[in-house]
């Protein structure tokens, strides 16, 4: 089909009236008025109404049009005309015109659809009910149909626009896009790797990159100065609703730069891409240290679209008689609180005490919560009588309390627990009380993270071990010193979500070595895992730093999509499974054998395979009956008899005879006159009387502990 003379459906306007056009696309919807047939024809550009009428369309074409059904792929030639008065459809951009068909070519017929694709109504005013109840797995299984929907097309086109903007902008800034390997070795990001077996090196594996971290640093050593890449990364992490096993990130690294350069560059980039979604971001982006973020919001990615930030109240209670606070302060703890402005009507005593203090806040890990409602006459609470007059006054002042406010405080010996629990409480209340304004975007740089976090033994990197510390005069063996170090790392946070993050890197081999020491990595382990990288630092590595941005997440935020799966053409579902291709799948044992994986793990058998050696073990496994060693001889005897019995039977039987499974005929009868119903014993719960374990109206199986 020649396409040079094809017009785009969605671009026809009143000005085109009278033109002869050729269109191609899919039948979005049909309306049959007997002699006259209207269809909505859809291509990527939009929708136009096409009319088949005996007055203007040849009869043969009308006959062919009668065969049309939703989602047939067709080519139509016709004339654009203005719609008759009163038949305009303001719901579509081409609503003032229609095309009178002169010729029709059916390019592809469409089978019965698994779900409705059309999103536009054929008549003005009537909205097409797009069933959001269409199961996501069904959509993913027929993703090629789901992608025909204008919303999905719009998402992918906008995504393209965003990525192109990034490329163009970075190109302007002198960045070069360089590809790095997908088949590489395990990198130190900390999540599990996806492994790819090597046929040439049996029982050896490539790892898919969790990020191109080391390669981009090597590109800096390699003198590329400014590198970026829109790159796919892979992490085998636990399932989360909004997580994909593979995701796209903008990865960027530059030499001879500092934080200020990266802030400027990235703010400009962020502003440009949000503009594509019609979102104007104010510049410069505010900055907040990690310490301040924790102290004021209890989160390292604060959502600052609303207030309710923390006040510290520790100093108000240094002399307190209230036993719980007193004990906590004696143990070096702290007390922080928030003022839920004007919420006393919605947060009753009952809600505060029974829901929040007893259920919700303990769920955040805190042992308790202190609540006070601010009344005209002072504070109302179940514990306020334990507070001195000065303490009550101090609270009112500290929280700038007015009648109608609710003050919530959490006290604990652990500073971080107070912060995180109160932070979750802050978010919980913001959602419950609807305090988060829609359409507001609050970008923020969070800086000065701790370089290390305390671990069971020693410390671990909070970011990754290549991050430059704020000072270099530390003792790798002194845990207290290590925990006091700050990193030269920065996260770009928006509306409580981390969009990206990066750091200035270490370019000194000695320093890098000491960081590894601090992490407790032995020389051999370092040499084995990072030897090639440390070596590279010996050859005049430039100072450098970079950042990475999660593209899926950013695009979803810009487009206001409900999940990142809405902005990915072929995503996995929430279980990291692809309903379209049915991946992951088993492979032929021939493939495994070729890869030397059949006997992988030496003596360590694959699950269930251990039973294969001994026939007794096999049968114990398939019939799930465990046996003790003393039982073995009896079972071995029984099996020997069974073998002999089966042989005798096999010898006697003749294949000409039909097997008789039952001695008398039974009609395959259903219970007559009975409707499907819930059994009364199930309905009244008696069914559970004999259950060894029941939980919430279900039989409880064993917990999975391994």
């Amino acid at each position: 089909m020649p396409h040079h003379d094809r017009s785009s459906c969605g671009q026809l306007r009143l000005a085109d009236a009278g033109k002869e056009v050729t269109l191609a696309g899919w039948v979005d919807a049909l309306r049959d008025h007997g002699d006259v047939l209207f269809i909505h024809l859809r291509d990527r550009s939009g929708i136009v109404q096409v009319v088949f009428t005996p007055e203007s369309t040849p009869q043969a074409v009308c006959d062919k049009a009668a065969e049309l059904k939703s989602e047939f792929c067709v080519q139509i030639t016709g004339r654009v005309i203005e719609r008759a008065e009163g038949t305009d459809n303001p719901g579509i951009a081409t609503g003032h015109i229609e095309v009178v068909a002169a010729d029709l070519d059916i390019l592809g017929r469409c089978a019965a659809l698994p779900f409705q694709i059309s999103e536009k109504s054929m008549t003005a005013g009537a909205a097409v009910k797009r069933e959001e109840t269409v199961g996501e797995d069904l959509r993913l299984q027929y993703r090629y149909l789901d992608l025909r929907r204008p919303t999905m097309q719009e998402h992918l086109i906008r995504r393209h626009r965003i990525v192109k903007t990034i490329r163009d902008f970075l190109d302007e800034q002198g960045f070069v896009e360089v590809e790095t390997p997908m088949l590489t070795r395990s990198t130190p990001e900390g999540a599990r790797d996806y492994l790819v077996p090597s046929r040439h090196f049996p029982k050896n594996f490539y790892a898919l990159p969790q990020s191109p971290q080391l390669f981009k640093q090597l590109l800096m050593v390699g003198g590329m100065e400014r590198y970026f890449q829109i790159v796919r990364c892979f992490r085998d992490e636990d399932l989360r609703p909004n997580r994909q096993p593979e995701f796209t990130q903008l990865d960027l690294e530059a030499s001879f730069i500092d934080e200020a350069y990266l802030y400027t560059l990235f703010e400009e980039l962020t502003v440009r891409i949000f503009k594509i979604g019609g979102i104007d971001l104010p510049r410069p982006f505010p900055r907040m240290t990690w310490q301040d973020a924790m102290n004021s919001t209890g989160s390292d990615r604060p959502d600052l679209r609303f207030g309710m930030t923390f006040q510290d109240a520790t100093d108000l209670f240094t002399q307190t008689r209230y036993g719980i606070f007193k004990q906590i302060l004696e143990r070096g703890g702290c007390i922080k609180g928030i003022n839920v402005r004007g919420a006393s009507e919605r947060l009753s005593k009952n809600v505060l005490q029974n829901e929040y203090a007893k259920e919700i806040v303990p769920g955040f890990g805190a042992k308790g919560m202190t609540w006070m409602r601010v009344m005209d006459g002072g504070l109302e609470s179940n514990i306020v009588q334990f507070f001195s007059e000065a303490e009550r006054r101090g609270i009112l002042e500290r929280f700038d309390a007015r009648p109608g406010d609710v003050i919530l405080m959490i006290a604990d010996p652990s500073w971080s627990l107070v912060c995180t629990a109160l932070g979750q409480l802050r978010l919980h209340l913001a959602h419950r009380l609807d305090l988060i304004p829609q359409g507001v975007y609050y970008p923020l740089w969070v800086t000065d993270f701790p370089l290390f976090e305390a671990a069971d033994e020693g410390v671990t990197s909070s970011h990754h071990p290549f991050t430059m510390p704020d000072r270099t005069d530390f003792d790798p063996g002194n845990t207290d010193q290590l925990l006091a170090l700050r990193s030269r790392a920065y996260d770009l946070v928006m509306n409580g979500e981390e969009l990206g993050g990066g750091s200035i890197r270490i370019n000194d081999r000695g320093l890098q070595q000491r960081i590894f020491q601090a992490l407790g990595l032995g020389e051999q382990e370092v040499a084995e895992k990072f030897g090639f990288f440390l070596k590279a630092l010996e050859f005049g590595a430039p100072p450098h730093g970079g950042i990475a941005l999660g593209i899926d997440r950013v695009v979803a935020m810009i487009l206001g999509a409900a999940s990142i799966r809405e902005v990915i053409a072929f995503p996995k579902n929430r279980s990291a499974f692809c309903p379209l291709t049915q991946a992951p799948s088993t492979v032929a044992s021939a493939q495994l054998e070729e890869l030397g994986l059949l006997d992988l793990g030496g003596n360590r058998p694959l699950p269930g395979a251990h039973a294969k050696k001994d026939p007794i073990e096999t049968l114990a496994w398939v019939s799930r009956i465990g046996i003790d060693d003393p039982e073995r001889p009896a079972i071995a005897d029984a099996l020997a008899q069974a073998v002999a019995c089966a042989e005798r039977v096999d010898r006697q039987a003749s294949p000409q005879e039909a097997p008789l499974f039952r001695v008398a005929a039974v009609s395959n009868r259903t219970r007559e006159g009975r409707e499907a119903r819930i059994h009364p014993l199930s309905e009244n719960g008696e069914l559970f009387k004999n259950a060894p374990a029941e939980k919430g109206g279900f039989f409880k199986t064993a917990a999975v502990l391994d």
Binding site: R624, D637, L639, C645, V649, E657, L687, A693
Partner: protein
């Protein structure tokens, strides 16, 4: 000696019962559901299980005025008679009729060992709804008692269509009439030659006495041949083991019964639960069933082919004669003490044929002999000819009482 009952009904209804079975005392095995009674089928796999509703037969018996006296001991899951006390409930005077599930001949052997009548009804005649069974294609709820007339009346109440038992064969839905077919005259019974040659002289002697009683009752005796007589045991064994393995699959410790305290995941929980659930006789049998199912499925199909051949052969014989006569038991082997599968099958060798083919079989005692010596007389009839067997039993019973 252990208590005869595992559960004793201490508060039978005080209301004077009415109905065709008014006042008849019936003992059951703990594999039959009686609402509120323990129902563990003699197995740890169902330990602690309390029945939530009555089995169809129980509901029918109670409605007809029968009084449930209690629940006896039974072999684990009804495989054999090891530890079974069901017939003793009648012998000791606690019950008039005992319901004993017959999978390989349990009701017939229990009755024979106790000098009682024992009927394995035609396969399918009695609803199995509410029975914790083991071998669905063979088991029948049997009846043991001293009076064949009472057995017939009881069976008449128990039998017949049950919408809750969709496995009931089409020919069984009409039920069973307690009115005996008239007379024993002009009947012919076949004695199987291949069986006779396997009896030792003492058994032969006792059996011949029984056959003579039949003859005295006017039944003509004829020797018949069943060339494949030797196949019954293997066919029964192979099919029963496969079905038992499947039936026992439901004992997983989730919905009921014993559940192991240890297990770090589902599979572990199942393995441990089922390791602890099954005893030393049934566990090897379940392994045999698993072996046939998973490793020798063709042999299972072949066993079913042979079963077809055996059913046709017995039907052919029952075309020539009205009933087949076998001894019920070999006095030398005590099924109650059988500790291995082999010993169990040896003890039940004579009752397996009717279990394989589904024909009705009645054990008839010889009151002139000590129960320990009696081989019993096993009458096998045509399908649904249970009434004729009981009528012959009744006749022999009267004759014995009159000293004929």
């Amino acid at each position: 000696m252990p208590e005869v009952f595992t559960y004793r009904n201490d508060s039978p209804s005080r209301i004077t019962p009415e109905g065709t079975l008014a006042g008849l005392r019936v003992a059951v095995q703990p594999n039959l559901a009686v609402r509120g009674w323990p129902c563990d089928a003699g197995s740890r796999a169902l330990s602690g299980y309390t029945a939530l509703q009555d089995a169809t037969v129980i509901a029918r018996l109670v409605r007809a005025g029968a009084v449930l006296s209690g629940s006896s001991r039974m072999a684990e899951l009804g495989f054999g008679l090891t530890g079974d006390t069901s017939a003793r409930t009648v012998v000791d005077g606690h019950a008039d009729v005992a319901l004993i599930t017959d999978t390989m001949g349990e009701v017939r052997l229990a009755a024979a060992g106790a000098g009682l009548f024992g009927l394995k009804p035609t396969y399918g005649l009695v609803s199995r709804h509410g029975l914790a069974g083991l071998v669905p294609s063979m088991e029948s709820i049997g009846l043991a008692g001293a009076d064949p007339g009472r057995i017939a009346e009881t069976l008449a109440v128990m039998a017949g269509a049950d919408p809750d038992d969709p496995s009931m064969p089409d020919d069984c839905t009409a039920g069973f009439s307690a009115v005996p077919p008239s007379g024993t005259g002009s009947l012919t019974a076949g004695v199987i030659e291949e069986n006779l040659t396997r009896l030792d002289p003492e058994e032969r002697l006792v059996f011949d006495v029984g056959v003579a009683r039949l003859e005295a009752a006017g039944v003509a005796i004829q020797t018949v041949n069943l060339a494949d007589y030797g196949l019954f045991q293997d066919v029964h064994h192979l099919i029963a083991a496969v079905e038992a393995s499947s039936s026992a699959g439901k004992f997983d410790g989730v919905r009921y019964g014993h559940r192991s305290a240890v297990g770090k995941n589902w599979n572990d929980m199942y393995l441990n639960t089922r390791a602890e659930s099954f005893g030393s006789l049934i566990k090897p049998f379940l392994f045999q069933g698993a072996y046939f199912q998973f490793e020798r499925y063709a042999a299972f199909e072949n066993a079913c082919r042979l079963r077809g051949r055996l059913v046709r052969a017995v039907d052919d014989l029952l075309g020539q004669v009205d009933l087949i006569v076998l001894p019920t038991r070999r006095p030398a082997s005590d099924p109650k003490r059988a500790a291995t599968i082999q010993a169990t099958y040896a003890a039940f060798a004579l009752t397996l044929p009717a279990s394989v083919t589904g024909h009705p079989a009645l054990q008839v005692p010889n009151p002139g002999l000590a129960a320990a010596q009696d081989t019993g007389l096993q009458l096998i009839g045509r399908r649904l000819d249970d009434g004729r067997l009981l009528a012959i039993g009744q006749h022999l019973s009267f004759a014995a009482r009159e000293g004929r």
